[in-house]
């Protein structure tokens, strides 16, 4: 079987261009949110909660946009707890947690809101409490 070298080369070039453009584009709301969750997960690990997993799952389209929900679970999947949702539409985002919904946010504001939420003392307490109770480990003594 012969290989069409010319079309393979053009495919390579097209892929390079696409990758370059991708690198130049600003990170999307979702990738920034994933990065934020990664930072929060790393902080939990450094504090002794090595079982903590924070992950983002895409849901269905809603009136507020496409739903993405952040979940906390332990690595052994002994429990799972939805933390918050964000909704991403064409021009604006919304943030939902604890029965409260904030709509009309832009990408920066929704990421800032998610960061603020994750840093609230009662949310940290909730996460560490769940990990202590159901994650099968005790926190590192201070």
């Amino acid at each position: 079987m012969s290989i069409d070298t010319s079309s393979t080369e053009s495919m390579k070039e097209a892929m390079k261009r696409a990758l370059q453009q991708s690198h130049q584009a600003p990170p999307s709301t979702i990738s920034r949110l994933i990065k934020l969750l990664g930072e929060a997960q790393e902080a939990l690990h450094e504090d002794g909660y090595s079982e903590a997993v924070l992950e983002l799952r895409q849901g269905l389209q809603t009136d507020y946009g496409l739903r993405y929900t952040a979940y906390l679970r332990d690595a052994s999947s002994r429990f799972e707890n939805p933390m918050f949702s964000i909704f991403v539409a064409d021009n604006q985002c919304a943030f939902q947690a604890e029965g409260q919904l904030q709509s009309g946010l832009n990408a920066e504001k929704v990421i800032a809101r998610a960061r603020e939420y994750l840093l609230q003392p009662h949310v940290v307490e909730l996460m560490t409490g769940l990990l202590n109770q159901f994650g099968g480990r005790s926190p590192v003594p201070v």
Partner: protein
């Protein structure tokens, strides 16, 4: 002995401001305590099977009759949705969404415990159709599939899905091969506090002896699992869902849930996880539909009918409440408000199996399910 004496009795003990409860009580209460479950046929074994509930009897401990002024009154609706799916049955999905709107708005439901969901996506779609602040809580962890889930009004409460530590097994120790997860446990939280555990079950259907044995074994397994999950926290437990059995089945008996049909007897139990079965008084008849058909020389297999004395009791979802709930400070079971939802909802929605109740024009394909949902009222003070 055995003759019912109607009178008034004051129940002593408990909290200082606990109200005096007036109830009707019979002498046979004492005689039946040693064998609270009887032989699972109240018609045969108990000469007065209904004496403990004749319209005036109530659970005597923490019941508040005239006020719903606690921190939170929860109305949980339990329903088997019979394989609802996103792809092929949009009209059925729409009718289910209508039902949930009616139940949440007109009937003030705060939570739906649902079983036999086709996919997790159907659960999310139902939550989306209800709109903010409703959220879906899957019975699976890590994005796996589950046919059990919760819809919660997140202004009032939230949930954490908990993994059970073992797979179900027969009481003989043999593994049970069943094609679906028979139970999921959720920790229900109000604000920052974890307040109770909600186990949602979907046990194997069919009425043969082996199925009854499997259901009994599943009950024993779940009871053991809950004792393990419970042991550190000692949280109250509510078990709801589709038990797929008559209330008189061995599943609820000594080798299964050990769920007492009378709350006062349950309180005297020495079980580490005491369970009360409030559905018994709503469905006290142990005579199954098949027995009635045999008696009436009815050779048909359908319809079930809609009246509670003719429908299969196994098509009515159920609830068990732990002693921790009934005895702990700050938890109230509104036993008298436990209800089988048949009236308003059915006139709007229709029932797949019970075609007598379907409004004109509602075909079986358009109806939601053949199950009757129930609603349980719980109060946390």
């Amino acid at each position: 002995v055995g003759k019912v004496l109607k009178g008034t009795t004051r129940i002593e003990g408990g909290h200082a401001d606990e109200r005096q409860i007036i109830c009707t009580i019979g002498i046979s209460l004492l005689t039946s305590c040693d064998r609270p479950w009887g032989d699972w046929n109240p018609r045969k074994s108990d000469p007065q099977p209904h004496f403990c509930y004749n319209g005036t009897w109530r659970y005597p401990a923490k019941m508040s009759f005239d006020g719903l002024g606690g921190e939170l009154v929860l109305r949980i609706v339990i329903w088997n949705l019979k394989g609802l799916s996103l792809s092929s049955e949009f009209s059925r999905l729409q009718r289910a969404s209508d039902a949930f709107r009616i139940l949440s708005h007109d009937h003030e439901a705060d939570a739906f415990a649902l079983v036999e969901l086709g996919t997790d996506a159907i659960l999310e779609q139902l939550a989306n159709n209800l709109g903010h602040p409703w959220m879906h809580y899957s019975g699976a962890i890590g994005g796996a599939k589950s046919e059990i889930g919760l819809l919660l009004n997140t202004e009032r409460l939230s949930a954490t899905t908990l993994a059970l530590s073992t797979e179900p097994h027969f009481s003989t120790g043999e593994d049970i091969k069943i094609g679906r997860k028979p139970a999921v446990v959720f920790s229900l939280n109000i604000g920052k506090k974890q307040r109770f555990l909600l186990a949602v079950v979907h046990f194997k259907a069919a009425g043969g002896g082996s199925e009854r044995y499997i259901r009994k074994s599943l009950a024993a397994w779940l009871r053991n699992e809950l004792e393990q999950v419970l042991s550190p926290a000692r949280l109250p437990v509510v078990i709801v869902g589709d038990f797929n059995g008559e209330p008189c089945e061995p599943m609820f008996g000594t080798e299964g849930f050990r769920a007492y049909r009378r709350a006062d007897v349950m309180r005297r139990s020495r079980d580490s996880l005491k369970l009360y079965n409030p559905m018994w008084r709503l469905l006290p008849d142990s005579v199954t539909v098949s027995e009635r058909r045999t008696r009436n020389d009815d050779q048909t297999s359908t319809p079930y009918g809609t009246f509670l004395d003719t429908i299969w009791h196994s098509l009515i979802d159920g609830v068990l409440v732990s002693g921790e709930w009934l005895e702990s400070e700050g938890y109230v079971l509104h036993d008298d408000r436990l209800e089988i939802l048949t009236d308003d909802l059915w006139h709007h929605i229709g029932n797949q199996g019970a075609h007598h109740a379907r409004p004109a024009g509602v075909t079986e394909e358009l109806a939601i399910t053949d199950h009757l949902p129930i609603a349980v009222h719980l109060e946390i003070i």
